[in-house]
């Protein structure tokens, strides 16, 4: 409403400081990523050829333009290592998100059906592990999954296996780690939509003769789709770029793009290729990011 204008003018001034901060430390750095992704690798410190040197004026700008190269991007497309790690990232993210949805939905649904008094407490219980360190939670699983860890001991003593199973450095360990780490991100938006749902809707459906499973499929699930979409995107996007979990839990024979980028940057010191990889990763995420932004905005409008 326009009457809120009186309050809006001073409120807008609040934007100045964070605006400048984000311009300087978010947007400008992207310029650097873009610039370096287009320059040549060099064995130097920093390890890339400067794209242009401001001290030489316009002439430098011209030589710089001719020196710009798409070599790094060409390399990304032609080398199977990169193509595979992009593909692997997408596959891992899709599979993990699907598992998260299947596990997270019943939990969110269970919490939404608790008496209102208990709901915040249950949500707190879901969120608290998220507050404890991400790395610690992965490490906790290494403890359990290692060769002489608790899981193997338990399986051995139950005589389910005769020799210890190799859990670590496998895809199953990685999926376990991802699901474990991202579960709260899936549950949170799901719970938010399920809890907001009018209980009378489900009551009306069963009053009109729908059995419980039908009620769920015809009423509850369709109405919770905004939450499903938010949860899926909230998990999918960061999983694509995930580094720590695959690095610690998965085997080293196939890498996700986050790991490849890390490797190029820290081990191979190939900054231009790492920058190009970052740009491609970002492009991969543009579509889901735009969808996510739309959803967020719709939810903010709805809250008003």
């Amino acid at each position: 409403m326009s009457g809120r204008r009186i309050f809006a003018r001073p409120a807008r001034l609040g934007a100045i400081a964070p605006y400048l901060w984000m311009l300087l430390f978010f947007l400008v750095p992207f310029g650097f990523v873009l610039k370096i992704s287009l320059s040549q690798t060099a064995i130097a410190q920093p390890p890339y050829l400067p794209v242009f040197d401001l001290t030489q004026g316009a002439a430098a700008f011209k030589t710089a333009l001719t020196a710009l190269s798409l070599d790094n991007f060409r390399l990304l497309v032609s080398d199977n290592l990169y193509v595979f790690s992009y593909l692997r990232s997408l596959v891992v993210a899709v599979v993990a998100t699907a598992i998260l949805l299947v596990i997270g939905y019943p939990i969110a649904y269970g919490i939404a059906r608790l008496p209102p008094r208990w709901q915040p407490i249950a949500m707190m219980l879901v969120i608290v592990p998220f507050w404890t360190s991400f790395l610690i939670r992965i490490y906790a699983w290494i403890n359990i999954l290692q060769h002489d860890g608790l899981l193997n001991q338990m399986l051995l003593s139950l005589h389910l296996v005769s020799v210890p199973v190799v859990w670590l450095s496998s895809d199953s360990a990685m999926y376990l780690g991802i699901v474990y780490s991202y579960l709260p991100f899936m549950i949170l938006p799901l719970f938010a939509t399920l809890a907001k749902m009018e209980p009378a809707l489900e009551e009306a459906a069963s009053d009109l003769g729908a059995p419980p499973l039908k009620v769920f499929w015809l009423i509850t699930f369709p109405l919770s789709l905004p939450g499903v979409a938010a949860g899926v995107l909230l998990c999918f996007i960061p999983i694509v770029g995930e580094f720590v979990i695959p690095d610690l839990l998965a085997g080293s024979n196939s890498l996700m793009i986050g790991q490849t980028l890390w490797l190029e940057f820290f081990t191979n010191k190939d900054w231009p290729v790492a920058s190009a990889a970052a740009i491609v990763l970002l492009l991969l995420l543009v579509a889901p990011l735009v969808v996510y932004d739309r959803l967020q905005r719709a939810q903010l409008e709805g809250a008003r």
Binding site: S2, R4, R5, I6, F7, R9, P10, A11, R12, G14, A15, A17, P18, Y19, W21, M22, F25, F26, V28, P29, F32, P106, Y109, G110, I111, L114, L125, V128, P129, W131, T132, S133, F134, L135, I136, Y139, A140, W141, N143, I144, Q146, D148, L150, Y180, L183, E203, P212, V215, I237, G241, F243, L248, F265, W271, S275, A278, L281, L282, A303, R304
Partner: protein, 270 residues
Amino acid sequence: MNGPRGLSPFNVASLALGLAFLYLPIVILMIYSFNASRLVTVWGGWSLRWYQEFFQDRAMIEAGWMSLRVGATSATIATLLGTLAAVALSRGEGFKGRTLFSGMLYAPLVMPEVITGLSLLLLFVAVNAERGFWTVTIAHTTLTMCFVAVVVQSRLTSLDRSLEEAAMDLGCSPARAFLAVTLPLIAPAIAAGWMLAFTLSLDDLVIASFTTGPGSATLPIRIYSEVRLGVKPEINAICTLVIALISMVIVVASLATKLSGAQRETAAPL
């Protein structure tokens, strides 16, 4: 399923299994931090041995201290800037560059950490900044500001705007109305935002790895390099300490919000 609002056995089972899944690994880790034996296979009785070892590990202690300093500093700056941003976005109506602003502000929320870390490092290298405490602090502020903004903005959105109008009607200038009415009511959200920023900073490995310099590793960086070499009982002890610290912050904060007034939530539907 009994009545649509009741809990079915399926609901109970999924809740119990879900919570067990979330908590069991952490509980096991905490228990093993008190194991006297070096081997996980053997329970050697209760002992504080690994805690002693940690307190003698200078590098680890220094990394922990670095993390606490970075966490507190970046959380404070992020809370300040994030709150300002939330106020501008929820009360500023339309203004020039609003879309770019909210886009930039919220992008780190979903941006892969490797990209944020890489881009900031390239900036720091380009301007020849000495990498260490301040570069990590700046990076973490950039990362956590959006989380603060989200928490504070959602509180501001649920706040009845006629409260601010009532304050103005009763003689407050807009700035006074904000200080006298809005700020006290969003204070719990600001505190929650700070805590979130602090724990996120304490938690971050990737961005810190990119932006820190030699000799100023944060705790996650140290833990990570140890974990890569295999399980070490000392790490269990450190993790338990970090969990204890964070739980304490959460308990203190929730007590503080309880004491500061139960009106916080009920103010919304007014």
